[in-house]
Point group: C2
Chain length 362, copies 2
């Protein structure tokens, strides 16, 4: 592979002049520039990133650590969107800014993170993004990159800048939308309580109910673990059964994620209930391949992974550039809108009922 010296000799100029042509950082006479460019293409010259990094002390690299590329979580584990979309969003922004991303995958083994960080530091990354598989609290082993780190889909106690989905507002919007469509009895198959998103979602749900003057009924909210179908006993079936056999059963089932909703479609069909005519269903995530291609289409809430990745990238870039922005520190929430598809029926008669209801109460 030819070097800048070869090019310089071929063009009859000094290496420094070639460098100037390549970087455009100082004036070069047009005729000289032409000669240099001719030499470059004649010799198939390609700059050495290593050499310029060494001299300039700027690598132009950003490290992203993720489990995204690794195999999916085991049975019973949270099944949100694949976090690869977060990576995509971040990479888009970094590419725009001329930075190259170095994506390291944990392969699902968190204990390998320090090793990955080490490799990234060897490459002299200018910043680090850590992407978690689902909304959670983490303890990231900072090292060297202590102050050039942004967490996505997770947060820590150390006050590291982070970008999180706005679970509260997402569920709030969904529930409010259901209420606007006339639903009053809203069943809620939730995530396990230990999931960081769960209390937020529930808070959003309750807030929306309260704003509409609908009393919160704890019987309608059931944690529903989603087990691998190979397991004989499906906890989801049980949770659904408890909802449907209530004295006053719900007119809509809110599922904690689209995957769960997909399973609920099948379970409802087994019970002879048609979606949405006899019962409405919603999901969460807007996992397109499910929500868009299930039949009928699934109403759900967008989990804005791409946007979160992009936000994180922008935040990190600001930090790197030392732009002391208020938005640089602390936690940033990104909200995703509900998407209404065919799985939710508007209970027109009840809309009226609710509206009067809503006015009477509060």
């Amino acid at each position: 592979m030819s070097t800048i010296y070869d090019v310089a000799r071929e063009a009859g100029v000094s290496p420094k002049t070639v460098s100037r042509v390549l970087n455009g950082d100082a004036p070069v006479r047009q005729s000289t520039r032409d000669r240099v460019e001719a030499a470059i293409s004649k010799l198939d010259f390609v700059r050495s990133h290593a050499a310029r990094t060494m001299r300039s002390q700027r690598s132009g690299l950003i490290g992203i650590i993720t489990g995204a590329i690794s195999t999916s979580p085991g049975p019973g584990e949270p099944a949100g969107l694949p976090d690869i979309h977060i990576v995509q969003g971040a990479q888009r922004i970094f590419a725009q800014e001329g930075m190259t991303t170095l994506i390291s995958d944990t392969g699902g083994r968190l204990d390998r993170v320090p090793e990955l960080v080490q490799t990234l530091l060897e490459h002299r990354v200018e910043g680090l993004v850590y992407v978690a598989e689902f909304h959670q609290k983490v303890t990231f082993p900072r090292r060297g990159a202590a102050d050039r780190l942004v967490l996505v889909n997770c947060y820590d106690d150390a006050g590291t800048p982070a970008v999180l989905p706005d679970d509260k507002s997402g569920q709030h919007a969904l529930t409010a939308g259901l209420i606007a469509r006339g639903h009053v009895r809203i069943g809620f198959l939730t995530l396990p309580e230990r999931q960081a998103a769960q209390p937020l979602r529930l808070a959003g749900h309750k807030a929306a109910l309260a704003e509409a003057g609908i009393a919160f009924d704890p019987a309608l909210v059931i944690p529903a673990a989603l087990l691998d179908p190979l397991h004989e006993y499906d906890l989801l079936w049980d949770a659904l059964d408890r909802l449907l056999t209530l004295d006053e059963p719900p007119t809509v089932i809110c599922c904690a994620n689209d995957k769960m909703a997909m399973r609920v479609y099948g379970l409802l069909r087994d019970r002879g209930l048609r979606v949405p005519d006899q019962i409405s269903v919603t999901g969460y995530d807007d996992y397109r391949i499910i929500s868009n291609f299930l039949h009928p289409g699934l109403s759900t809430v967008v989990l804005p992974y791409e946007a979160m990745g992009a936000r994180a990238a922008q935040k990190l870039l600001r930090i790197i550039r030392g732009e002391p922005d208020s938005s640089t520190a602390g936690i940033e929430l990104v909200a995703g809108p509900p998407v209404w598809r065919e799985s939710v029926l508007s209970q027109t008669s009840k809309i009226v009922e609710f509206q009067s209801n809503g006015r009477k109460t509060t």
Copy 2:
């Protein structure tokens, strides 16, 4: 960031000795090693990848170009597994071998490939993997890396080493399995003909039928485009309708991919047909989130993306190391097995019928 010189001074040795400790490429007295290691951790020293690359002329980097991370294909487009799994498989192998992967995403714009290749060459990648989104023919702009390139999920006219899914054997195994379960009238909703996988799948299908002595009925094979549900008229509905209204309708519908099968579940339900009691359904891809969590579970064929990625990585490593293996050149097929879940009913009575049939014929 401290350098090897700082460490050398701190430990009272020469830089070269520090290098030896780091690389373990020459004997170092234990006491010296200890001093050096103490200095390294005291100074938080991290090697500079740029410097060693420059001197040793080995970057330890592999470039992967993909559209995987980019947004999903538009409506009507093929909807196989996300090719990120191919990347994952390749990265696993490369990591094992101590190589770091530099993943570049086209963002869905093929015209940006040359630009990405340029960047990868600047980083002096030792090899290149190109990952296509679905089985297809491509023309990859070689450059510099001409002879250190492996294609995955695609192939070209230039005889570039490639790794492809064995579509023929996959469909053959599926059809044979259906026949073994007593199905004789097998409906086949296929990919568009222009898809590279399609003729191969059909060939596998026909071969399995022929081996069982079942006559091929063209009326049972219909290309079925999968449109976005927002489009009012669903070509899939039409194709399915044509199959179901045949004089002798199929007892099983083979779908070209799991996503299509998921939609077919819904459409069949609309027609009042229960899966698998009244009609069986199969997919293709083993897109886990669908096949495993649909209810009932979907019988399908594994599209072995992870394995393909791993194979491609191994092939590229052999090429880089100059191990002139027969498996280094040409196309390598990777077969995936069928996975039988609840969506296929064994027609026990018909099994007998078929077996006698099979013996009588041929």
